[in-house]
């Protein structure tokens, strides 16, 4: 074994010192020959050197390099075809690598927990209706055969008084959390069983980001005691830091929700997630868990539907999945079109090289050698394309990764930077490239191995223009047209849907509005009136600085929670409920149709008032006598809900669509002053004069009015419109894909027609000589192209019918099978395709083809 390794190393050594070795051998032979009395006895020196070289076993490499040279020369000879093929491949592979990187970054494996596919969220009731009580007592021990860990946590905000005053996120977790999510400590240690004992010392693990930000990544923090205060600052706890959490460890539905402090939860809590044992069926698990919940549950609603489970990955990618699926499918479609297109080009190239193959065969090149040269040619083409596309993808991804995260509304589980060209993506691209290489090599191989020397050299019709090859070409082109049409239809439908979304009247104007969240430490405002007074002061100060400011309980772009509304005439309906401050309608440009908006007279203690949306007013009082009438609300999500007090209607405002798909335009606005929030408030602000940057001025404004109030989550309101941005994103991507594939299909059909025209030059010349008009000749080729197009269109329509279902959830105001869109897309492709056939045919018909007859 050792000698084998030593021999191998010597071979490698030789490879790297080849030139020197060969020179020494040449010198040695020269010396030998010089000393020989009769130099002729030495024999063929070149052969001696060749045989000596062969001993080292690298001759195959020389042959390969030689073949590669031939392949390269041959690629460069027909530059236009090579260039088109290369460009198509680069486009296709770049699309696949880039979309592959995005899809992988959001895949199940990307969740930062061991075996993430075993993790499932537990939903005790659907969103809205109230949940059964007593769920913290679930008998997990008796469910041990299906659930290995029940994971529970409770989140709170804390302050670190010894450090900056920024609030930190404390997560109290049970042992199931630590074990079930595989919490590890890169520095220090994890939480242990002893830490969960009721009389144990107060300990915590420090979040990685906080550790870096506040403690400069100092490892000596482990073992130290830090003071952790409640947000009000009235309760201070001494906590020993035992370790640091891994970078990027998060909890929840967004990888930006990192944890600052992780400490043991010493009371029983409701598990929000479970880790399954291997091989557990979620549907059966739901049945078992629901049955177990019934044994311990209290106040179980009569219509309780049982426990539902959702995989951690599905929950993370909820809303994103259809986008990712559509993009993957579209990029696979483009790649297919690319491959088909290149297959056609490569086949045409091989046909043009048939004579060369024949000459080489005649000169003694074996079929194997020819096949190898063709293989190298294809591999060179795909290899270069692969390399270039990986470089481009890398650049594209590094620029677009943050954009992708914003457009999809949520960064990848391992953060924005994980959307990149990692090993997995590179391997995937290389595998695809290898498969393409093999697929592309088949046609030329067949041509090379079937090349008939005599026929090819005589310029006669040979095996390669046989019906089988023509049929193959037609099939490839039909596939190309079909794929392009499917993409074009998908893209056109999405564009129309995006247009509908962009032009829909939402009933409000979010332009330039900045939103932010205020946090009120408990000791700042003694009671609700003081909070309301603060809101008014802030609103007035903002106005003095030429900024409109309003408060509301629920931002647009999210459906407001539904409540049952009962009118004083006995009518009931459901409506979204929003608490809004005085200037809310003015700020959002929501028209006041009747009566008045809220004003300073509306306060705690005064008559409760509401403003209704036009739809709701119409629904409750069809006769229109709305002002001064009364309604009350019943919260459907709360347990033992009792109707609220009666509220008087003071005004009616225009309808608002919170999201573009919001069909529930019945909304109740309550006075913010009468329902002031306790701890947090969401505000909206818009600059009323050019040159004022509301987002920049807001923190200073808040600080000046009340320095103890903290302001966070400042962002442009439009950024909250995730549905629209995802749709725009998908539309943009699909447009790029569709344009690429249609261009390729048109090039493919055009190139084939041009080639066919060239091949049939003699026939055209004879027809012309016999008096055929230009139109008749053009018709000949256009009919042929029309056949391919027609077949492609039929196949493409069938493909679209099944593929378009994926887009259904993303469409707004347009049917998946919208006839006008499909017709326009199909006709466009047909016209482009026919034009690409007509052009080369027309050129040929105008030329004097008589030369084709005399060339022999």
């Amino acid at each position: 074994m050792m000698s084998f390794i030593a021999e191998f190393l010597r071979r490698i050594w030789y490879l790297f010192n080849r030139q020197r070795f060969e020179q020494e051998l040449a010198d040695e032979i020269a010396e030998h020959r010089a000393r020989m009395p009769d130099v002729r006895r030495f024999g063929n020196e070149l052969q001696v050197r060749e045989r000596s070289r062969a001993v080292w076993g690298w001759n195959w490499l020389d042959t390969l390099i030689g073949d590669a040279r031939i392949a390269l020369r041959s690629l460069l000879r027909i530059r236009s075809v090579t260039f088109t093929a290369l460009l198509s491949l680069i486009v296709g592979l770049t699309l696949v690598a880039s979309t592959g990187a995005v899809v992988r970054a959001y895949s199940a494996g990307a969740l930062p927990y061991p075996e993430p596919e075993q993790l499932h969220h537990v939903m005790y009731a659907p969103p809205g209706p109230w949940e059964p009580g007593g769920m913290s007592q679930m008998p997990w021990a008796s469910l041990g055969d299906i659930v290995t860990h029940a994971i529970g946590a409770s989140s709170a905000r804390r302050m670190l008084p010894d450090n900056a005053s920024e609030p930190v996120r404390l997560l109290r977790v049970d042992t199931g959390f630590v074990r079930g999510l595989g919490v590890r400590a890169p520095v220090g240690r994890e939480l242990r069983d002893l830490d969960f004992a009721n009389d144990g010392e107060a300990v915590a693990m420090l979040g990685h980001a906080l550790w870096q930000r506040r403690f400069g990544g100092d490892t000596s923090i482990v073992g130290r005691i830090v003071r952790v205060a409640s947000e009000e600052g009235d309760v201070v706890e001494l906590v020993r830091i035992v370790g640091v959490l891994p970078d990027g460890f998060y909890h929840g539905r967004d990888s930006r929700d990192t944890i600052d402090l992780l400490s043991p939860l010493r009371t029983a809590t409701r598990a929000y997630m479970v880790r399954f044992a291997h091989g557990v069926d979620p549907v059966q698990a739901e049945v078992r868990l629901s049955a177990a919940a019934r044994t311990v549950g209290t106040n179980i609603p009569a219509d309780w539907t049982g426990i539902r489970l959702e995989s951690a990955h599905a929950r993370y990618t909820e809303g994103i999945r259809p986008v990712l699926q559509s993009v993957s499918l579209a990029s696979a479609g483009v790649l297919l079109v690319v491959v088909l297109n290149i297959a056609v080009l490569v086949m045409l190239r091989a046909l043009r090289k048939e004579q060369e193959f024949a000459v080489r065969t005649a000169l003694g090149a074996s079929r194997f050698r020819l096949s190898r040269i063709i293989g190298i040619e294809t591999a060179l083409l795909v290899g270069v394309a692969c390399l270039v596309s990986l470089i481009i993808s890398r650049a594209v991804l590094s620029t677009l990764a943050p954009v992708v995260a914003t457009q999809l509304g949520r960064p990848a589980p391992r953060g924005v930077d994980s959307v990149g060209l990692n090993d997995g993506v590179i391997v995937q691209t290389l595998i695809i490239a290898a498969v393409i290489t093999m697929a592309l090599g088949i046609a030329p191989l067949l041509i090379a191995t079937r090349a008939r020397v005599a026929a090819a050299l005589q310029g006669n019709r040979s095996s390669t223009t046989s019906p089988a090859f023509r049929r193959a070409r037609v099939v490839l082109l039909v596939g190309e047209v079909a794929g392009s049409l499917a993409l074009l239809i998908g893209c056109a439908t999405m564009v129309r849907s995006a247009f509908n979304i962009a032009t829909i009247d939402r009933g409000f104007d979010a332009g330039d509005i900045v939103t932010a969240r205020l946090a009120y430490p408990g000791s700042v405002f003694a009671d609700a009136p003081s909070r309301t007074a603060y809101h008014r002061r802030l609103t007035n100060d903002a106005a003095a600085q030429r900024m409109s400011l309003a408060f509301a309980s629920w931002p647009p772009y999210a459906d407001a929670a539904d409540q049952v509304i009962e009118a004083d005439n006995g009518a009931t309906t459901r409506a979204g409920t929003i608490n809004a401050s005085d200037r809310y309608f003015e700020l959002f440009h929501i028209p006041i149709l009747h009566g008045r908006a809220f004003n300073q007279d509306d306060r705690i203690g005064s008559t409760p008032v509401v403003v209704l949306s036009a739809t709701l007013a119409q629904r409750l009082w069809p006769a229109g006598d709305v002002l001064g009438r009364r309604i009350r609300m019943i919260d459907v999500a709360a347990r033992d809900s009792v109707p609220s007090a009666w509220h008087t209607v003071t005004g009616v405002v225009g309808d608002v669509r919170q999201s573009f798909a919001d069909n529930q335009q019945a909304d109740v606005y309550r006075s913010y002053a009468q329902y002031p929030p306790d701890r947090f408030a969401t505000l909206y602000v818009r600059a009323e004069q050019p040159g004022i940057d509301a987002a920049r001025q807001l923190p200073e404004l808040v600080r000046r009015v009340e320095p103890r109030v903290t302001v966070g989550l400042i962002r442009n309101l439009r950024d909250s419109d995730r549905e629209s941005s995802q749709t725009r994103f998908l539309t943009t991507l699909l447009s790029v894909f569709a344009i690429t594939s249609v261009t390729l299909a048109v090039i493919g059909i055009g190139t084939v027609t041009a080639y066919t025209v060239q091949q049939r030059a003699r026939e055209i010349a004879i027809r012309q000589a016999l008096g055929a008009q230009a139109g008749a000749i053009v018709q000949l080729f256009v009919l042929n192209g029309a056949f391919i197009l027609a077949a492609g269109v039929v196949l493409g329509l069938l493909l679209s019918m099944s593929g378009m279902r994926l887009l259904a959830s993303r469409l707004y105001g347009i049917d998946v099978h919208d006839a006008p869109t499909w017709t326009v897309a199909t006709l466009s492709l047909l016209l482009l395709g026919l034009a690409s056939t007509w052009w080369p045919a027309r050129r040929a018909s105008r030329e004097q083809n008589i030369r084709a007859l005399t060339s022999e």
């Binding site: 020269a30 030998h32 000393r35 024999g43 063929n44 001696v48 045989r51 001993v55 080292w56």
Partner: protein, 109 residues
């Protein structure tokens, strides 16, 4: 057509190793030495000598070092390595056994 060198098949390596066991030599000298020691009964064909020397280098049985010949040319001089010496013993033993066997058969026949 290769000339008849008088070498029994498979013995070239043995002979090279043997002549190198006494002193380092360059290619031409190896051929000369074999011819000289065999009283011209054996002549090494150059077409076989150089590939054989490459094989010995590859196997690690000899080492080459650059030196200057009497004529002033840079030539490689081959020297036996410990592995080569071991190989010489093996080849020698194998040859002795083979030739003894052949002799026995010839004597009995």
């Amino acid at each position: 057509m290769p000339r008849d060198d008088g070498l029994p098949p498979g013995t070239l390596v043995l002979l090279i190793l043997r002549v190198l066991s006494t002193q380092p030599l360059h290619g031409y000298a190896i051929a000369q030495r074999i011819a000289q020691l065999s009283e011209s009964a054996l002549s090494v064909e150059e077409g076989s000598l150089y590939p054989a020397l490459q094989k010995l280098l590859l196997k690690g049985w000899v080492k080459a070092s650059s030196t200057t010949s009497d004529t002033g040319r840079a030539v490689r001089q081959y020297r036996l390595t410990p592995a080569g010496r071991k190989q010489l013993d093996i080849e020698h033993a194998r040859y002795t056994a083979t030739s003894r066997g052949i002799a026995l058969v010839l004597d009995l026949a």
